[in-house]
Symmetry: C2
Subunit: 192 residues, 2 copies
């Protein structure tokens, strides 16, 4: 399964704001097209299928739909990290800064749902500054689970997230890599 | 498809707190078992399949996974209402009080994703006081969409949500109806 359909879809339909923000609310972040999600999931599956994954970890809300689609291919549960006001000892917890919303959130995973026997694939919709994924990695490490890799639908390669993950030797698959946005037009990685 | 598997699962595995709170974090609200979700979705599908549904509407975060599962059966998009700090004219918006969290939230749906041609099925995980579902109904009415019905996984029949929906003549399917909780033991509707 190739990513060309998704590149074309994003080029044709994504809303670009200020050469920076890419909105795909019409199929991924607000309205959800499950057929597109299943195509995305099949690409993740092709790449990560033989890695003995036992859990998919994501974060509410936009990661849930993609993770659940992939969970059907891999036949494993999804665990989604929650944003909560108060933490307690039942949780693995850390703080994540959202550049989009300019807020600091506690994210947590109940200790019952991850342990040192788990092989975890982390899934999220966007990778920009990488704060959400780094927070999820932190929670997975607290659980002493093995990290198989990270799967991202849309990577904004001009921001620091992908570099931060590579520094940690994370096996990162970003289906779409956006090199830059010029005059509100998307340049995908590898394009001139 | 019957609901007996789900009753048994809830009776066996749900965490009950203070004869009031029912936690099903292990398959629905934190960890997600997509096989269970697909069984739940097939019950919704059997009931609502011939009703020309064009959109499934739910609310972030826990409704998304169920709605996406059902979307595969019905072959329609999901639109999930978002909780936001600020509203603007691009959105249908209303305020919803969360009894669980004791907070008032703005919930919104982008006007691009619902209109007067849509036949909408509302899906959510729990029905207790009904505030979330009433908020979703409000948004759907603002869009002048038709309301086909409401599908709920677990209804706490001892709280007022189901009565409020019936007063509005809403076609409500609650797969599991909990009559009461005594000594932290669940009594399903119809049980003595």
């Amino acid at each position: 399964m190739e990513n060309i359909f998704l590149k074309e879809k994003i080029r044709r339909e994504a809303l670009i704001i200020d050469n920076n923000i890419i909105k795909v609310d019409h199929f991924l972040n607000h309205q959800i097209d499950v057929k597109v999600l299943d195509q995305i999931a099949s690409i993740f599956f092709d790449y990560f299928k033989n890695r003995n994954i036992t859990k998919i970890v994501t974060i509410e809300a936009s990661g849930i739909a993609i993770a659940c689609s992939l969970a059907r291919f891999l036949n494993v549960p999804v665990v989604f990290a929650k944003k909560v006001s108060n933490i307690n000892d039942n949780y693995y917890a850390c703080q994540v800064f959202s550049y989009t919303k300019q807020t600091l959130n506690n994210i947590v995973i109940d200790k019952r749902f991850l342990n040192d026997k788990d092989n975890v694939l982390i899934i999220d919709d966007f990778l920009a500054n990488g704060q959400a994924v780094l927070g999820l990695l932190d929670l997975v490490k607290q659980a002493h689970s093995q990290i198989v890799g990270v799967g991202i639908v849309i990577e904004k390669s001009f921001q620091k997230g992908s570099i931060l993950l590579k520094k940690q030797n994370i096996d990162l698959l970003s289906i779409i890599q956006i090199q830059e946005i010029v005059n509100n037009k998307i340049i995908f990685k590898g394009e001139i």
